[in-house]
Symmetry: none
Subunit: 207 residues, 2 copies
């Protein structure tokens, strides 16, 4: 993720190690553990760590064992980074979407991509978004919101049925468009937007 080019190659390697170590273990590494990993001496690690800190990629706690804090995404606490969000099934007209009996499972997602409980997942049914690379059975992760921009892929409520479409906005009106020539755009029916698709997930059969 194009970490600002400020770090040298070696510094970047070391930062990555600190990060990965902190994910694999419940605590950050010691300077010595870093030295061992890269087969360099303690003094050299001091130099690197100091440089990385000066450039703002980690925070150091003086005189504290394992006193690191990585200050960029991919941080320390896996727990703090992951959320479980419910997968809802496609709903038949009239049925409430967010009913608990409609929950098919859960998926994890990175926290902080937004605040709190504003995401859900929906299993796609049908081929209407095929040309946008969204297939039957795929799961989309949705951020709840009541409006969206022209061109956004949204989940809309149409006659009480949740459907995935592309939102089109002209100066005159807003309408929904399928990404499949076999479906025609929905021009003259009222609809409510319930969220914007921010991610697509597709499982492949696991042998």
């Amino acid at each position: 993720m194009a970490r600002a080019k400020k770090l040298t190659e070696k510094q970047d390697l070391i930062l990555n190690f600190i990060e990965k170590f902190s994910i694999d273990n419940p605590f950050p590494p010691t300077l010595k553990e870093i030295a061992e990993e890269f087969k360099i001496t303690l003094g050299t690690v001091q130099d690197h760590v100091f440089a990385i800190e000066k450039k703002g990629f980690i925070k150091r706690y003086p005189d504290v064992a394992r006193g690191f804090k990585v200050t960029r995404p991919g941080d320390n606490k896996m727990q703090d980074m992951a959320d479980m969000i419910p997968i809802y099934g496609s709903v038949a007209a009239g049925d409430p979407i967010f009913a608990m009996e409609n929950i098919q499972g859960y998926v994890t997602m990175e926290k902080n991509r937004a605040g709190h409980k504003i995401h859900f997942a929906l299993r796609i049914k049908g081929e209407s978004m095929k040309d946008a690379g969204i297939y039957d059975g795929d799961i989309v992760i949705v951020r709840k919101q009541e409006d969206a921009d022209n061109g956004d892929v949204v989940i809309a409520l149409l006659d009480d049925e949740a459907t995935c479409k592309t939102l089109k906005k002209t100066k005159i009106k807003a309408y929904l468009e399928a990404a499949n020539p076999r479906y025609k755009a929905i021009m003259n029916r009222p609809f409510d937007i319930i969220g914007k698709v921010i991610e697509l997930r597709r499982g492949f059969s696991v042998a």
Copy 2:
């Protein structure tokens, strides 16, 4: 069935402190910090921590500073269900795929979809799998394995370059096929399979 023994009130307080400290800081507390919090001595903390460990609520790393891991049985279900796996970038020929400097970030995935550290993610480059709904920039989650079945989407090493293709197997030979008519199948070059694609993820731009 050795049901986890219950903690005493004091032990629970201490466990809670360790947990909270680990959330508020990028590392767990030291025994001394616990002692200070509860205004008790180091020796007493040793006793408590030993008891809590014996009852299975934390794991201790001997001779390791801040060497705690909270493993509350029962609680914390959500956290225990998620794993962070690294995203590797597409690699140029010759470069090692699993090098740390090639890590672009991390994604969460449900734990236990398999054992341990056998998954990684790869950012797809190119259009060769477009007809299978896998686009440039997509992320695939890969389970490491050295063979796969006919029809599986796999990551293969071709001339030291990681590539995403469909594996085809006939009675006579195995070969790789792109899902895009503009690419032709790779019939007569040796390749190694490094994993099978089990999930696809695509991010949509977030306003």
